[in-house]
Symmetry: C2
Subunit: 248 residues, 2 copies
């Protein structure tokens, strides 16, 4: 599971708290030094685009804070979000120059970047980086496939519940433990972004959010701040088996 790994690396590696999850699990002094030499930080404001699909991308990196999304757009304007990047997630693709998707900051965002060329060289000389990246990519692949089930077979209500469950779980793991099964978090996205993720319209998202609120599955303060009184209830609504299926 991802987050135990994250916690592990956060403790183990002083030089790279959350930032180099991809590489710090077993990093030694030499590698760290190389990494320090090729890294830099970039900040974005909510709404800014990090890269457009097709643009040259001369770095890889990981999200330090904030949330970014990967989206694909058809010529006629239909868009589908294909990835949600939360802190510690990896950005970019070694071995390819152009970005495959639009990467957009949905909140204020900080990325820790590594210049791509030297990073790729480091990958070649340091086997466990590729191994680590492989594990992360396999996790992402599992998440993408999980999402295919959501997109292909779930109802609007189940889709919303699934999204809330994912965000709640990640947020809870990163920030606060659940006091008594109750979960509190902020949605890092607009209704429109939710609809792009779920393959719905923004109106349907809004209606289903209202319905989940009416039925007591969630408590809404404003439009973003959410309390989940009973997480297992939320998972039921998502149509997931007991643990939510998003372990990996």
């Amino acid at each position: 599971m991802l987050h135990s790994d994250l916690a592990h690396s956060t403790q183990d590696c002083e030089a790279c708290p959350i930032r180099h999850r991809a590489v710090c699990a077993r990093c030694d002094a030499d590698e760290l030094q190389v990494l320090e030499g090729i890294k830099y930080y970039r900040s974005f404001e909510a709404g800014q685009t990090v890269v457009w699909a097709g643009d040259r991308m001369d770095f890889v990196g990981s999200v330090v804070s904030g949330v970014a999304t990967l989206t694909q757009t058809m010529e006629d304007g239909r868009t589908q979000m294909v990835g949600l990047l939360l802190p510690s997630d990896f950005v970019g693709r070694p071995g390819r120059d152009g970005a495959a998707y639009d990467v957009v900051a949905t909140t204020n965002l900080v990325i820790c970047c590594f210049r791509k060329k030297p990073f790729e060289q480091l990958m070649e000389t340091t086997p466990h980086i590729a191994q680590r990246l492989l594990q992360m990519t396999l996790d992402e692949l599992d998440a993408a496939r999980e999402w295919m089930l959501v997109l292909g077979r779930k109802t609007a209500r189940e889709k919303i519940a699934s999204l809330l469950a994912i965000v709640a779980r990640r947020d809870a793991t990163l920030n606060l433990l659940t006091p008594n099964g109750k979960l509190v978090f902020d949605l890092p996205m607009t209704r429109e972004a939710m609809s792009d993720y779920l393959g719905l319209t923004l109106e349907t998202v809004s209606r289903q959010m209202s319905a989940l609120k009416r039925d007591g599955v969630i408590v809404l303060e404003g439009t973003r701040h959410i309390t989940v009184p009973d997480f297992s209830r939320l998972l039921e609504e998502a149509g997931d088996d007991s643990d939510g299926g998003m372990l990996s």
Copy 2:
């Protein structure tokens, strides 16, 4: 792009024509010897299940011939196919014991398996195997994300056309070149399997196949044998940009 790689390895590596695409791009004698020692073949008939989700899986491998599918099932029986495995595709996940999805042979199927433990050890001592596997996994991730767009935003007709385009492209690359822009291939799946892949019902699949036939986008002989008189027309119907977007 996958297939050039495949062609490359098919030529370069006598000991593993199509079979070890994952590892043969730069294999040397020692590695090949190890691989020979831990490999074996398994055959399945159309309809047989290779593994059930959750079952222990003590091998990884690649498809030699035939077609297999990865599917997820919800408790109430709704199913979504999350992957289509064609010859040369990798099966299984290093570093995990249980299968994450049902793997089912949809045609007669031969898999070249490597016992997992020794394969994982080989991965640790042979950096380029992990690197190669990483590239393959990144390709699969791109394919999965492409499919998220199909599932989330495309109409039934576009979905069908997208599926046909994928199968046609892979089949054409593996077998026969297009003589004059015309493409001939056999669908390796039932209407029901198509519906599971596309997030539709089997009836809708059938109707849209009939519609594409009526409109001259495809020519059907029987239910499986398909001729595509104009591939670019098919891509248009799929709503893809000119090259179909499934390059990677």
